[in-house]
C-alpha cells in the first residue's frame, strides 16, 4: 500500500459518514416534497446539500482527504474551474431567454 493511504482507518468514521449522507438525503426529500422554498431558492438549497454530500463522499469514501495536498488541490481546482466556466457559458443565456413577465424563471 502506498504511503498516502496510511491514515486513521477506524471504520466507525465511515459509518458516521454513511449516516450523515442518509440524513442529508432525508432532509432533501422533505424539503423537495413539501416545497418548503420557492423553486429558485429550493434549487440553491438542494445544490448546497448535494455539494456537502459529494464532499463527504470524495473526502472519506474516495479517500481524497488522505491523499497528498498536491493531488487534492490539482483535482479539486481543475474540476471546479471547468464547472465555473460551464456555468458562465450556460446560464446567462438561459436567463436571456427567460420569459420576463413576473421575473420568475422556475415554475
Amino acid at each position: 500500500m502506498h504511503d498516502a493511504a496510511v491514515h486513521d482507518d477506524s471504520k466507525g468514521q465511515y459509518f458516521w459518514v454513511w449516516g450523515a449522507l442518509l440524513v442529508l438525503t432525508a432532509i432533501e426529500v422533505v424539503l423537495g416534497y413539501r416545497q418548503v422554498f420557492e423553486p429558485i431558492r429550493m434549487l440553491q438549497v438542494l445544490l448546497i446539500l448535494s455539494v456537502i454530500k459529494s464532499a463527504l463522499i470524495i473526502g472519506y469514501f474516495m479517500h481524497l482527504k488522505f491523499e497528498k495536498s498536491l493531488m487534492r488541490w490539482m483535482l479539486v481546482l481543475s474540476v471546479t474551474a471547468c464547472f465555473v466556466i460551464m456555468y458562465f457559458f450556460f446560464f446567462p443565456d438561459a436567463g436571456r431567454v427567460l420569459p420576463p413577465p413576473n421575473g420568475v424563471g422556475l415554475q
Binding site: W18, V29, G32, K53, S54, I57, I58, M71, C82
Partner: protein
C-alpha cells in the same frame, strides 16, 4: 563493469536513483483513475447543466414524479449510499489481505448496485407506460393515452434530458457492477454475465426498452473476456481500491441527479 557504466551515466545526467518519486504520492493506476473520473465528471456536468438550462427556460416545466416515484428514487439513493459503505469495507478487507471478505463485500456492493438498476428500470418502464417517451423508444399500448403523453408532445426536452441523463448514469452503474464482478470473480464472472444477457433478452417483453438495452451486457461480456484472457491476473488491493474509486464516483453523480431531476419535478397532489 556494466554497473559502473550505468552508475557513471546516472551521475552524469544528474539522476539520483532508479525510480523517480511519484509526483502525487500515489501509484499510477490510481492517478489514472482519478484523471478519468475528472474528465467523466465534466461529461455529467455538461448533461446536468443541459438539464438545468432546459429547466430554467421552459415554462411550465412538467412535474411527473408522484410520491411513488420519489419513494422509489429515495430507496435507490439509499442503495447507492449503502453500496459505497460496503465498497469501503471491501477495500479494507483487500488491504489486510482477506480475500474471502473482499469478495463478500464486493458482492454486497454489486447487490446494492443491481438493486439500483432494477428499481431504476422499473421506474423507467412505469414512466414510458404512462407516455413519457422519446422518438425511437418502443412504446407499449398504454403510452399513447397515458398521463404523460402530452408532456412528450408539448415539452419534448423533458423526456430527452431526463432519459439522456439517467441513461448515462444507469450505464455507468451497470459498468460499475460488471467491473466489480470482474475484479472479485475474474473469469468465473463471465458465465454469469452471459446468463444475465441471454436470459434478460428472452424474459423482457419486446415492447420494453430494456429488451434492447440488455445487449449492453453482451458488449460488456466481449470486452471483459478480451481483458481477462489477454491479460489474466490476480487482482490485488490496488485494483480493488481503484475499482472502488469508480464506484464511489457513480454514487457521487447520483447525489446531484436525485435532487435536480426528481426533487425539483415532484408532483404535489
Amino acid at each position: 563493469m556494466a554497473d559502473a557504466a550505468i552508475q557513471h551515466n546516472a551521475v552524469e545526467h544528474g539522476l539520483t536513483g532508479e525510480y523517480e518519486a511519484p509526483l502525487f504520492g500515489a501509484y499510477s493506476k490510481k492517478v489514472g483513475m482519478w484523471l478519468f473520473l475528472a474528465s467523466d465528471s465534466l461529461t455529467f456536468g455538461a448533461l446536468l447543466f443541459a438539464f438545468s438550462y432546459n429547466r430554467i427556460y421552459t415554462t411550465p416545466w412538467p412535474t411527473p414524479f408522484h410520491v411513488a416515484s420519489i419513494t422509489n428514487a429515495t430507496i435507490m439513493t439509499a442503495c447507492l449510499l449503502s453500496s459505497s459503505l460496503t465498497m469501503v469495507m471491501g477495500v479494507f478487507a483487500a488491504q489486510r489481505g482477506d480475500r474471502t471478505w473482499t469478495r463478500y463485500w464486493l458482492l454486497a456492493t454489486m447487490a446494492f448496485g443491481t438493486a439500483f438498476i432494477v428499481l431504476h428500470g422499473m421506474e423507467w418502464t412505469k414512466l414510458i407506460g404512462e407516455g413519457l417517451t422519446i422518438p425511437g423508444f418502443p412504446r407499449p399500448a398504454t403510452a399513447a393515452t397515458g398521463e404523460l403523453a402530452d408532456v412528450s408532445k408539448n415539452v419534448p426536452q423533458f423526456p430527452a434530458t431526463f432519459f439522456g441523463l439517467t441513461a448515462m448514469h444507469m450505464l455507468h452503474v451497470t459498468i460499475g457492477v460488471i467491473y466489480l464482478g470482474v475484479v472479485a470473480f475474474r473469469k468465473w464472472f463471465l458465465p454469469v454475465l452471459a446468463v444475465l444477457w441471454i436470459g434478460g433478452y428472452f424474459l423482457i417483453p419486446s415492447d420494453n426498452i430494456f429488451h434492447y438495452g440488455i445487449h449492453a451486457l453482451g458488449l460488456a461480456l466481449v470486452v471483459s473476456a478480451v481483458i481477462l484472457f489477454l491479460k489474466p491476473k490476480d487482482y490485488d488491493a490496488h485494483d480493488v481500491e481503484v475499482s472502488g474509486l469508480y464506484w464511489h464516483f457513480v454514487d457521487l453523480v447520483w447525489m446531484f441527479i436525485f435532487p435536480l431531476v426528481y426533487l425539483m419535478s415532484t408532483k404535489i397532489n
